[in-house]
């Protein structure tokens, strides 16, 4: 099984169409936390993440997807977060990541 998951399987198309995505929630989130736009996508949040060390939880992937209007499954996935706050301490852009987790969950509660 391990070799199947390695990446030689056929990948499904993964196009993200920002023009057709509903960006209202995303814009809402950015309006409440403008500092999110300063994210450079370095992934320090994921690298330091307590939950990521024991699962495939990936916070960078999730907040990037949300910004692009891809909300499906994000709420459930974000529920894996333990809110320990290490990501906030390592973020080189000083983004309030703990607040962001709570904000995204609040906004996406119905997705």
């Amino acid at each position: 099984m391990a070799i199947l998951n390695f990446g030689y399987a056929i990948s499904r198309p993964r196009a993200i169409d920002v023009d057709n995505n509903d960006l209202r929630k995303s814009n809402d989130i950015i309006a409440e936390m403008p500092e999110l736009q300063a994210c450079i996508g370095c992934g320090s949040c994921t690298a330091s993440c307590t939950a990521a060390a024991i699962t495939d939880f990936n916070f960078r992937k999730l907040h990037t997807a949300v910004r692009r209007g891809e909300y499906k499954g994000v709420y459930d996935e974000l529920s894996k977060c333990m809110l320990c706050g290490k990501c906030r301490l390592v973020c080189p852009r000083g983004i309030n990541t703990r607040g962001l987790v709570m904000l995204i969950k609040r906004k996406l509660g119905d997705f």
Binding site: I54, G85, R98, G99, M102
Partner: protein
């Protein structure tokens, strides 16, 4: 004898309304108390605690001893209004009893006694009683004068900022301010027309009789009593809805607290007693660093409790708090401000989610074998030097240690609790408890005060001794198991909020530092220590604001002229290190450097 006059109607109506409202409130809150709390009341009712509570009511509801400790003038203001008014009622009642014997007199007969002595031709001219009553009136009036003065210059009374009041409070406050001057005027006019009165009303009366024409005096005599009765009535009507409800809420609160009732992470009826016992004195405003360093003026405990009481609490106000506990440490009513705020958050955020943290089953990242467990905690894993130092110390004393989360473990749950996700936090609590039990450890050492607080307050770890690493190291040194070399280094120590105010651990870290060098105290220390600003409890303020809080706190530590700043919390260390110009170390690192093998 008659004890009725039309002017007493506002007073009677107001008083009846007030007592009915208070009674209904008390009844409602008590009926809604959960079973556990009611059982506690029954269990503790016939114990010494009840007597202790009576004494505390005298000390706090009447004399306001705790406010005297904040500022003597402020304490005097509160004491003169509360105790003065209380004595005015009691001595007034004695006065009528002296003149009329033990006759049943309606309540307005006591309150407006000076008026009814004239109506009924009662010979009431005991100089002692009249002077005593005037003295008490003067005592209360001095409190009112100070209250006015405080509105203009709160700084002179030890408060840099006073509370900004809501409309209800302003109405009640204005009525209260008029009550005693109105009484002075009415009683002085009575003395001016009919003679009598003590050193205050009597002298003022004879002076008025000299300068004001008799017809004029007769004209304003009745209206002055009407005014007095009306402001009293207005105050009574406003009381149950304003901050003055604290007068009649603090008393049952003191009893309930002595009967061991406490607020919990979930809301319950007991919270009403705590919320409405807030007098909005505003003593909690000055210690708040969000106010002092960031100029945020809407989130302090006094405003939080007000918003919660009137059902207008915004998510932002509930979330915008460091939960450093500086307000709780000075609150003269002793309200559990942080617990209340957590359960406010829980009300909005504690969403049941059964499948959540399903991944916690079958995870075990622990390593090593030993009866002593070491739980580094999430934050410590960002500071590998702390964990390394702890390992050096363990090795030096030859302790067999089981490491719970050397390669990343599961969070203790407190961060979730602080944000109000109580049920989710319980899953971490269950996971970690199970882990500790499975490895049968007898001692659990952690270097993170956040974890420590949850282990002590929210876990059931009977049979396992939970220690902060500073307590553990202190024990090693006093038992002679760990030998350290003292040096000439000068340290200053920062008290982490969770460790200090949260768990009352102030001395262990200090003794550990003093074993290896000189300790210099910062201006704010121990119970009064400043927060580093990095608190997990606040999810509203941004990074820049966190740094501003940290900067002032670090500056105080550096002002001691220390070589090294020491703390015993990885989160505090992170916050301090980025604003400090001197090395910032954890207490474990300091000790590890000085181990004598």
């Amino acid at each position: 004898m008659t004890f009725f006059a039309p002017f007493t109607i506002p007073f009677i109506a107001g008083a009846l309304f007030m007592f009915a409202a208070i009674f209904l409130k008390w009844l409602w809150w008590t009926v809604k108390l959960p079973k556990v709390d009611r059982r506690l009341i029954l269990h503790n009712f016939f114990t010494r605690n009840t007597l202790v509570a009576v004494w505390e009511v005298v000390r706090e509801s009447l004399l306001h001893i705790r406010i005297f400790r904040v500022n003597p003038l402020l304490g005097y203001m509160h004491m003169s209004l509360a105790f003065g008014w209380f004595l005015l009622i009691v001595v007034g009642w004695i006065e009528t009893s002296v003149y009329l014997g033990w006759e049943m007199i309606p309540i307005q007969g006591h309150i407006f006694f000076k008026y009814f002595t004239q109506v009924n031709n009662i010979d009431a001219h005991s100089a002692l009683l009249e002077n005593l009553m005037d003295g008490l009136l003067l005592l209360v009036l001095s409190g009112v004068a100070l209250a006015w003065f405080k509105r203009m210059a709160s700084r002179a009374m030890g408060m840099r900022r006073a509370t900004k009041h809501a409309l209800y409070d302003r109405i009640a406050l204005s009525a209260l301010w008029f009550v005693f001057p109105a009484r002075l005027v009415a009683e002085s006019l009575t003395a001016a027309i009919y003679g009598g009165g003590g050193f205050l009303t009597g002298s003022l009366g004879s002076w008025l009789g000299g300068v004001v024409p008799t017809e004029m005096l007769a004209l304003i005599y009745e209206p002055s009593w009407w005014f007095y009765s009306s402001v009293l009535g207005l105050f009574f009507v406003a009381l149950p809805f304003s901050r003055y409800m604290h007068i009649f809420t603090e008393i049952p609160l003191i009893f309930l607290r002595r009967w061991q009732l406490r607020p919990t992470l979930e809301r319950k009826s007991y919270d009403n007693f705590e919320v409405e016992a807030c007098s909005r004195c505003g003593i909690c405003i000055d210690p708040c660093q969000l106010q002092a360093d960031l100029g945020i003026h809407d989130t302090q405990s006094v405003y939080y409790l007000r918003d919660r009481r009137y059902n207008m609490l915004s998510l932002k106000v509930a979330n915008n708090c460091l939960m450093c506990g500086r307000c709780e440490a000075v609150c003269p009513v002793g309200i559990n401000l942080t617990t209340l705020r957590i359960n406010s958050r829980a009300m909005r955020r504690n969403i049941p989610h059964e499948g959540r943290y399903g991944y916690l089953t079958n995870i075990d990242r622990s390593s090593g074998v030993g009866k002593v467990g070491y739980f580094a905690g999430c934050m410590t894993s960002l500071l590998p030097a702390v964990q390394r130092s702890m390992m050096q110390i363990f090795n030096a004393v030859g302790e067999d240690v089981w490491y719970a989360d050397k390669d990343g473990g599961v969070c203790c749950g407190r961060p979730l609790m602080l944000s109000g996700e109580t049920d989710a936090a319980r899953k971490m609590v269950a996971y970690n408890t199970d882990l500790f039990r499975r490895y049968e450890i007898t001692t659990l050492v952690t270097s993170c005060p956040i974890c420590l607080r949850s282990f002590r307050d929210n876990y059931r770890l009977d049979g396992i001794e939970v220690l902060h690493h500073s307590e553990y190291i202190e024990r090693l040194i006093t038992e002679g198991r760990l030998r350290v070399a003292a040096g000439a280094e000068v340290y200053s120590y920062h008290d982490p909020c969770e460790l200090g105010r949260g768990l009352k651990i102030y001395d262990s870290p200090r003794r550990v530092i003093e074993a290896v060098g000189t300790l210099r105290e910062a201006e704010h220390n121990r119970r009064d220590a400043l927060c580093c600003g990095g608190s997990l409890a606040n999810t509203v303020i941004d990074d820049g604001k966190q740094q501003r809080i940290a900067r002032r706190m670090t500056a105080e530590l550096e002002a001691t002229g220390c070589d090294t700043i020491v703390t015993s919390c990885p989160l505090c260390q992170k916050s301090i290190a980025r604003t400090a110009t001197r090395p910032t170390l954890d207490i474990a690192e300091v000790i590890a450097q000085r181990i004598v093998s």
